[in-house]
């Protein structure tokens, strides 16, 4: 199971509806978790994997509350650190609200090959 799949599973287990990995279909409400960066750590075979959780909902309040539910679902993921709390990005092209937050998870290079 990859790190992305583990994070996605946490969100699904917490009961957050319409959770997707990498990209999401064109629906009014959804949560997407996607990796965006990987920085090697000095001297050890580990890297800092960065992910973004993006929440789309018809209203600002729905987007924010779902984003906070996602934060709580991931709060006790091992070694995970949040870069920021859910941040409102403004309305989407179709008028829906978007909230995002980013997080880092240290991972050993070996763990990237785990299935």
């Amino acid at each position: 199971m990859t790190l992305l799949e583990k994070l996605h599973a946490r969100l699904v287990d917490a009961g957050i509806p319409h959770c997707y990995m990498l990209s999401s279909p064109d629906i009014p409400s959804c949560v997407t978790v996607a990796p965006y960066n990987s920085v090697p750590m000095a001297d050890i075979p580990m890297s800092r994997e960065s992910f973004q959780v993006a929440v789309r909902a018809p209203t600002y309040h729905e987007a924010l509350s779902t984003a906070w539910a996602a934060v709580k679902a991931l709060e006790y993921f091992p070694l995970l650190s949040f870069r920021q709390t859910p941040t409102y990005l403004g309305p989407n092209e179709d008028g829906s609200a978007v909230c995002v937050f980013n997080l880092d998870v240290p991972a050993s290079w070996d763990s990237h090959n785990e299935r």
Binding site: A34, Y36, T85, T87, L89
Partner: protein, 176 residues
């Protein structure tokens, strides 16, 4: 919530003013590294990147200035006494959205219309013969470049040059 601390041993050993200068130089280097990854249309977003010490810059002021001039060194030398924080920021209303939207993709190559310097030189013999009149314009392709997370993508490279920036800061400030 948690806070990440990266300990740079070399910068911890130098006087605070040298450390702040090194951080400012690192911020400038980060802007340089990030430039080619920033979405480009008119260039305002690229020009709005600035490095400040102690506080974020006045947003509206930088945004207005960025319409025509690069703002990277606008606040050079303006250091708040006792401050130990350096900010790198991009100051346009759409910067945050472009930085955080992972679905954003550069649009296809866009052609801008630009006047040719020599209007006369722009006409072909055939168009002149046909009596064509008017302002000659030619289409110039603008590259489709950039993407989200340009600060975070550039940061590791900029931070890896911290030792070099400490050396530069020492040389600049005359510290052995």
């Amino acid at each position: 919530m948690s806070i990440r601390v990266d300990w740079h041993e070399n910068i911890a050993k130098v006087p605070p003013e040298v450390a702040m200068e090194a951080l400012w130089l690192t911020g400038q280097n980060l802007i340089t590294e990030a430039t080619n990854n920033i979405p480009l249309d008119t260039g305002t977003l690229r020009r709005s990147g600035t490095v400040t010490v102690g506080a974020l810059p006045p947003f509206a002021e930088v945004y207005e200035g960025a319409q025509s001039e690069d703002q990277a060194k606008r606040y050079e030398g303006e250091k708040q006494p006792g401050s130990r924080v350096v900010y790198v920021s991009y100051n346009t209303p759409y910067a945050r959205r472009l930085h955080e939207n992972l679905n954003w993709r550069p649009r296809d190559w866009k052609y801008s219309r630009r006047k040719r310097r020599s209007v006369k030189g722009g006409y072909t013999r055939k168009s002149r013969a046909a009596g064509f009149e008017g302002t000659y314009v030619r289409k110039i392709p603008k590259p489709a470049v950039g993407g989200p997370k340009w600060i975070e993508r550039a940061a590791p490279r900029a931070f890896s040059r911290m030792d070099e920036m400490v050396r530069r800061a020492k040389a600049k400030m005359g510290v052995v």
